[in-house]
Symmetry: D2
Subunit: 475 residues, 4 copies
């Protein structure tokens, strides 16, 4: 059940080179990346001769069992977990996409969004290509197959030069793993290794969207795949090439604000540190005389701790999450007020009664959930509610792999901050400044950030605004 109006990440990817149980490592990696997409997941492995795939709708833990993993037994593997919008929610669009072509069998898993996919697709269709999915990723596979380059690495590099937008991707062939990031480095992709098992000569090379996957595998983080880089791991070892010069890097700052797990190193920086700094900066930018600081759990937790530390106002977990909320829930006809939020959260009266509360959250999308949470806190006896948001107002949609509602639905694109404050019923409302956010995320140290959703200034020349909706498939 989607009871909170959050932005949604579209994907997580993982890749394993050379391990006798590559399929199980990919499976564990996907498990650690489950927060990046809960709609479908898939794994493709190679045993050195032949690719094998399994993908399905649902959570990683439900899709893969002992029997499925045994059938996938391989030494190389890639995996993908995905969230997608309603129209594209079919198994058809689940990844990895696996095809047979003149370059042999390959499979690809993609996090991000290609902004020139529709234009390329139209051109390829005109030349007689057929498309079996609605996914922009299928365009890439066509470009690889159609490339006049003779080797697979050259053909991949050729294809990557032709697409524009956001992509962190991993690919598998019979005997190689490929990992690449777009020239602006919108989405994360980390590289690490796992010490060789006894009797094996080489370390296992691993790639993942976030380093929390490495922690679960017991792997060590080495570095990020760089913007514009294509890393190839094969029998000959690891090689790297820059298929394209990289313009200014534009890493998605919202990975630090909300998407990534706080325990991950993303774009070279631990997410939790950024969130703590956001809270501290917010306390400096928008102080308030209050009794307690309360986070909207769990994504607001660290920023609230930072706000509390900086302001000296005590931190209290006065909103409790119900961890057993399932996907669907049956409502009484005489519906309970604020039913959806109540299912997920409950306020502790004895902590809130008579208190002036600083309420910390990471974003306001449509405003409907924030309104209910503010009301819940007031109903529990709070005297004042001061909402603090750990990033600037979101005013523009993302075209680089984040599912954002249309501009019409984004409250900050349509209302002033005062109007939003009135709508959600808070006594005061403040957002973190863009400068404050960038500072909290250490802009300029390891990366520079894309902040198009806060500014409307997009780093790519053009963006794809039409939707691809040729067919609707439910499998």
């Amino acid at each position: 059940m989607q009871i909170s109006d959050k932005f949604r990440e579209e994907c997580g990817v993982v890749a394993i080179h050379a391990h006798p149980e590559a399929e199980k490592l990919a499976y564990l990696g996907l498990h650690a990346l489950q927060h990046r997409g809960q709609e479908s997941a898939g794994i493709v492995t190679s045993d050195g001769e032949r690719l094998r795939a399994h993908k399905s709708m649902g959570l990683v833990a439900d899709i893969f069992n002992e029997e499925v993993l045994t059938s996938l037994r391989g030494i190389l593997a890639i995996g993908h977990t995905r969230y997608s919008t309603a129209g594209d929610s079919a198994l058809l669009n689940a990844q990895p996409i696996m095809v047979q072509s003149n370059k042999g069998a390959i499979a690809i898993a993609h996090n991000g969004n290609l902004v020139n996919a529709l234009a390329i697709r139209a051109k390829l269709e005109g030349q007689g290509s057929i498309f079996q999915t609605n996914s922009d990723t299928e365009v890439l596979v066509h470009l690889i197959a159609l490339s006049r380059e003779q080797t697979l690495p050259d053909a991949i590099a050729d294809a990557l030069r032709r697409v524009e937008g956001a992509f962190s991707l991993v690919m598998i062939s019979r005997d190689r793993i490929f990992a690449a990031r777009d020239p602006r480095g919108f989405r994360p992709l980390a590289m690490g290794h796992l010490a060789a098992l006894t009797g094996e000569k080489k370390d296992t090379v691993v790639f993942a969207s976030e380093t929390c996957a490495f922690d679960l595998l017991g792997a060590t983080y080495e570095r990020d795949v760089k913007p514009g880089e294509l890393v190839i791991v094969g029998p000959e070892g690891i090689s790297s090439r820059f298929y394209s010069p990289s313009p200014a890097q534009s890493s998605c700052i919202f990975e630090h604000v909300y998407f990534s797990r706080p325990d991950s190193i993303v774009f070279g920086r631990t997410v939790d540190l950024s969130r703590d700094a956001m809270g501290r900066q917010l306390a400096r930018e928008a102080p308030v005389d209050a009794d307690i600081v309360v986070p909207v759990p769990d994504s607001g937790n660290t920023a609230a701790i930072g706000y509390s530390a900086e302001s000296g106002i005590p931190f209290r977990l006065a909103l409790i999450r119900n961890h057993y909320v399932g996907r669907t829930f049956i409502e009484p006809q005489q519906s309970v007020r604020d039913f959806g939020v109540k299912l997920k959260l409950n306020a502790i009266r004895s902590l809130l009664e008579g208190k002036r509360v600083v309420l910390l959250d990471d974003s306001i999308v449509r405003g409907t959930t924030s309104k209910k949470i503010v009301r819940m806190i007031r109903n529990a006896g709070a005297k004042e509610v001061h909402m603090r948001i750990s990033c600037p107002p979101t005013i523009s949609p993302c075209f680089y792999g984040v599912d954002t509602p249309s501009k019409k639905q984004l409250i900050a694109a349509n209302k002033s901050i005062d109007e939003i404050r009135d709508y959600i019923g808070a006594d005061s409302l403040a957002y973190l400044s863009l400068e404050g956010l960038k500072k909290a995320c250490a802009e300029g140290e390891k990366t520079t950030y894309c902040s198009a959703c806060y500014t409307g200034h997009y780093p790519t020349k053009w963006v794809d605004v039409e939707e691809i909706q040729p067919v609707q498939v439910s499998e």
Copy 2:
């Protein structure tokens, strides 16, 4: 559970043009064709604007429920039910195949096998095409998209001219249904109509592999789609063209021997009539002094009635089928002798005791099941068992859409009739002659038959012997 070694048909197809519940008619049609393939099924519909698809592994009754059918609501529909060999058993290969191309969105459902698919596929891959399934049918879709013809009907005709082999196929676009048969007419495809509903002007046009689907829908059989014919049903009405001259027709005689339902009209003739005539002819060709005629149910029933009528030997249902046999079954470790056959059949001692039995079956593939059935009948007290087969010995594999084991496994390709008799433990064994079979099936009246599996003489110039196994997918 596959407990009997039968040959297996690979597909059944159905198509509906213009009915407010086209998806439900396709669903019922598939239900009537379920015997032609129990592994996967799918339906693609058009509401006049957009194609919608649903396909899955399993039986028609399990795949489609009210909710799924509602999501498919359309006015045109095609459907497919499929059996496939182990290596290809993935959902990936389930049909219809739906694609987006420069000719718009189309979907195709195919019964048969293309004998030059591998060659074309290799050529297309060389030109940069990608293949996402292992199915020969995907080749056809590529050929349609790549055709230089401007209209979809022309492109389809163009593509059909380039493939060789067996195909009865139905296609759907936004506003049209297409139905075609290969120039030799290997596999059946019937055309009929359903009287217009009150308030509708035009009759609904229906196509199906067998006319039993028409009976369930309340539709009337008109004629077969002819070899080399492409029938197009669209807003402008029904049109027909012959995309290729038809050489001598080669209809699969095994449709009459075993595959088709006895209540169907196939190649213009009711199957049950052929089977009755096979039994009568067999009684003339291979008479025996016996007490009762017993069929291996249900496929041997009608031939046994014919044998009994011609010979005057009483017909008895002395083998009883268990209708609740599921797909999997758990065997004791101290396994019951002839466990598999016993699960499916039981012999009635009081009918068999002391009797000389004529046992009628439609074919012997590997011989293992026949051996167990003969033993079961002897154990029930039969004094003599005379096996009679209602077709000639099968000595060659089929390349036109029937799943046959390799030549090594075909008992009649490796043993003489006397040796087979000894192997299965019968007192005598006789097969129907090829001439007798053709006569029983009215050769020359409505069609001429392909009998390559009995003779090794294939009507097409060449056949595809390699398997396509690029990847193994389990979804």
Copy 3:
């Protein structure tokens, strides 16, 4: 899907004494008895120390898998398969019923119906007993626990003397199997043995409702458990006692007409022989000038063969069953005429066109299905349809374990034969006489029959007419 208005049997039971895979033999036995009840099934085993149970809604093949059977591993086992009416369809009422009492842990599986259950239940409740199911069988367990007899065999015999009605039952304790039949022997219960495995001293003793279960297990039929007999198999061997004198035996004749599988020996006689004799007798009692004899498959098959043999009119399978009919089916809103029957049956026009047809069925319950089948045959071109029923008109409900509709719904209780003929649209209609039926079933040879449903004369003094409906449970 229940598309035919047949009477329904309520149960099948099986028991195994001393086999290292008793649970698997019980499972196979239930499989062979699946036609006696498709709603729920269960098995209870003992490993010599402890009872283990598994029961669930559904078919035997779906309820039990390798994992479940492994968890039930035992050396003794009983099993039960059940059909029940809507109000009682809960898992709660699935059998075997297992309880802990002062006689130790026991479980019971029951085929039949106790006619004084309500009266006993009321009395026991008055004394403070609690009931957790709606089943008459629970009464028996209470009586066993409350018996003042010291040993379990004595307590069982004591309890059996207190109940009246129809019961063939098997019970299991830690180390014994019990099998008993009511003094009138309404329902069948056969006893057999399986040769000892190598290394075992004693044969395995098996009990089952029908001998077709023995055939599947490879067991040999010995004799029926006798009316009024309690057979006990334990460490000391097999013993038998007659807990009650048996009045005239009243075996359910409908077991021979319809319920039992034709390959079973029931009440000492092979069912198929009875059905053949019914057809022959019917041909003598109600001859007709016709061209072909056609059964309603499969239950009318043997009687039709008999009718054909006696009359000399050719037997033809002109109605074909669709073997893939599932439980639920989605109908178009513009429903196909006679949809339900068409899903299950189809008529072969080329066999029926212009023919005078004798149509053989085993019973007419409400008449609605017969009406549709007669219409189907006429629509396929038959000139005349002469319906012949292989038993007398059913005019009274059964209280001995058969699910019959109320008297209001029984067409023969409310209409004359001429009226029924007109209702179903046949040219003529004839039922077998009661004398003819009894003769066909060899009345007096091995047993005498109950024919209360044809006469309204019930062999027990009184019957339970109220329903037990304390609570409705869905589990």
Copy 4:
């Protein structure tokens, strides 16, 4: 997946009197109580005439859907959610237990454990009673049915006087709800009301194990059901009687330490307040020179905040929970070190590196999980790890409804604190004193507590040590 060795609560109960959607309120209440038992759940409703039940294995959200709830439509309802030990994990033992008796149909849902159940059961079996479950609760139902009292309230009171131990229970009859607590008030049971819907005269009365269920329903907490009290809600209104004098109250202190949700009022006191006070008291009792305070999430959160507030050492969420951990998980053969804990928790290196850490948890059961968490924190770079436990060492099993391992497995029953510290690898280890714990929980204000698990002094005269294991059932 049980990866942490926590003590487990056995049940949560809820009851609703008079609401047009009583079944949905019960369902929501169970949802809020899901943390008290995740193995099975059930609801019994009454529509004023008849009881209806549904219970199954699994989570509340999976067991109940729209269709099931519709079939349960009623105006009174009780619900139960349950955890149970392996041997008793069958659906058979799921609650509520519903029976038919001379007092009419009743159902009961029970949280707690009867310590004299075995003795009563033996006596009842000796008198001929049968038991169909392994649950102590069934004893209560027998006692009610066997009571000589004429009315149901009197019979219930009579039965409650005969049992000893811990029980908070709710019951439903055709037209009444009953709620009772044992005389020592071991387990919680709160009472509240929901304002009458428009058009209804009376408020809806609700009972639940914890008040967080009231918050979700929008109900108001009034008071606890008192020790020794039986509350009856029926057509005549609410009445109360004390069926037994209450000795000193012995409320389970572990409800405040771990079981209950922090947002619940339990025994009259908000749980979160107690936990904050435990942390503060622990900081006073066991101070340490350190850099950060880190909770084991989520149960250690509030105590850690209290410890931080009292000590001035900063609070950091340096252990991150993975919220997508399913029940089963497939491990690589070359297993990842500390696999189980890593699946659930990850440490943030950048927060821990070089730090002296106070690690707060609520209990140590076997010590294995604590050892892994300490190692995880050290591996993330912590310089020192000081473990602090917010209650005293657990040295004795609970017989009042908490699932504790045997004394052999309780690390604190077998090792000194120094030995435990060495075993888990911490630099220091301290437990909260019993006096400190009681003070934190406001002993004496609203209740007095049972602390038998810390002292071995049980408030009841005797306890049941044998297990009831007559039969093993898997349904």
